[in-house]
Symmetry: C2
Subunit: 193 residues, 2 copies
DNA sequence: ACCACAAGCGGATAAGCCATCCGATTGTGC
DNA sequence: GCACAATCGGATGGCTTATCCGCTTGTGGT
């Protein structure tokens, strides 16, 4: 699967498309390939050649952010405090989802749905699992929490922030609040019953 | 706003439309008014006359379930244990969202977006607030949790269950697990730091 | 420097969905 | 039984999405 070197102009157009998509995503406009093509000054066919679906394009847009996330995760594994490492990773994850509109959809899509980023997502998933396993081994997290729950829960928080409808400036705060609630529990007195 | 008595045939058609929509929702088909009309053996115009948008129709479909939820909420207010009452209400809420596909979208939509159910949703929201306030007064919930967070968090859980992609039979279990995680906190040792 | 070939480009165009409008129909009050 | 008004229903136009294929452009060989 060695990607053919890609011709020079093709590469330039690729960049241009992703850049335009990046802008659209940032300003909250839904990605419409036809629209992207017009704004990039390219033919529709060109865009469809590069990205068969809006999701594929979104994936390309999200990739840098996901890579940063993965890097942070690997770095967190160096932390000796298993819980703190996990918490830091999860915090970064929800921050990314809430800050960058391209991340959430890509994260929510099942792993096999998006072939291109599969390796990247799998790497992310692995570090997440490692962080969780370590924390569980240290007895720091509830035992019924599986690795497969991590992504859904983080996506759930991001979604909750959306539903809450915070102003853009407050989104991160809300996300932090919700993550704190999830991590610490809504209940104030944990062992009352 | 006294709803005009509605003619006999119109009422019958209304029922038929909602019934068809109910089926479609249950089998996971996205609501398309044109499609609903065909299946109900009615003209497209008739359907659009009754429900201007798919959301409006979905709202009608969800109404009975929401009413049941509201009833349960009011009943929960009778429970002397404030925390247990809240927990019971939240449990019922996520169960409804996960069981009935019509509930989640209606719940997630901002209150003012759907004029018809506004009163119903507002009633629901009020009982939720009452339950939460009581629990907070009893010191049973974390103080930084506002009433406005209740709906988003429940929607977040429902969404998380979707992302998790459980088999239909396991959806409720997953929802319970996630709600428990949220209520109790992911962290095993709450007061370690 | 030139040529030939393949890879890439791009817009015209087909397919499908959504929503509206208005002539025909049917129920209801007198 | 009649007239009016409310309701019905499908034909229709606008819009979004995606494909196809003739034309253009970069690249590697001579």
């Amino acid at each position: 699967m060695t990607t053919t070197p890609l011709r020079k102009d093709a590469a330039r157009n690729w960049e241009r498309i992703v850049a335009v998509a990046r802008e659209l995503v940032d300003q909250g406009t839904p990605l419409q390939l036809n629209d992207v093509a017009r704004r990039a000054g390219l033919g529709v066919g060109t865009v469809y050649r590069h990205f068969a679906t809006p999701e594929a394009l979104l994936e390309a847009v999200a990739t840098p952010c996901l890579e940063a996330l993965a890097a942070h995760g690997r770095q967190a594994l160096a932390d000796t405090d298993a819980w703190r490492a996990l918490e830091s990773f999860l915090t970064r994850t929800v921050e990314a989802q809430v800050t960058d509109a391209s991340v959430a959809p890509v994260a929510a899509a099942s792993v096999d749905a998006l072939p291109r980023t599969t390796e990247l997502k799998e790497s992310l998933w692995c570090t997440g699992t490692a962080l969780l396993d370590r924390a569980r081994a240290a007895g720091a997290v509830r035992p019924d929490l599986a690795a497969a729950d991590l992504v859904p829960l983080m996506c759930g928080i991001a979604y909750a922030v959306d539903v809450h409808g915070s102003a853009p400036a407050d989104r991160i705060d809300t996300a932090h609040r919700y993550l704190a609630a999830l991590l610490g529990g809504l209940r104030a007195t944990p062992t009352t019953v």
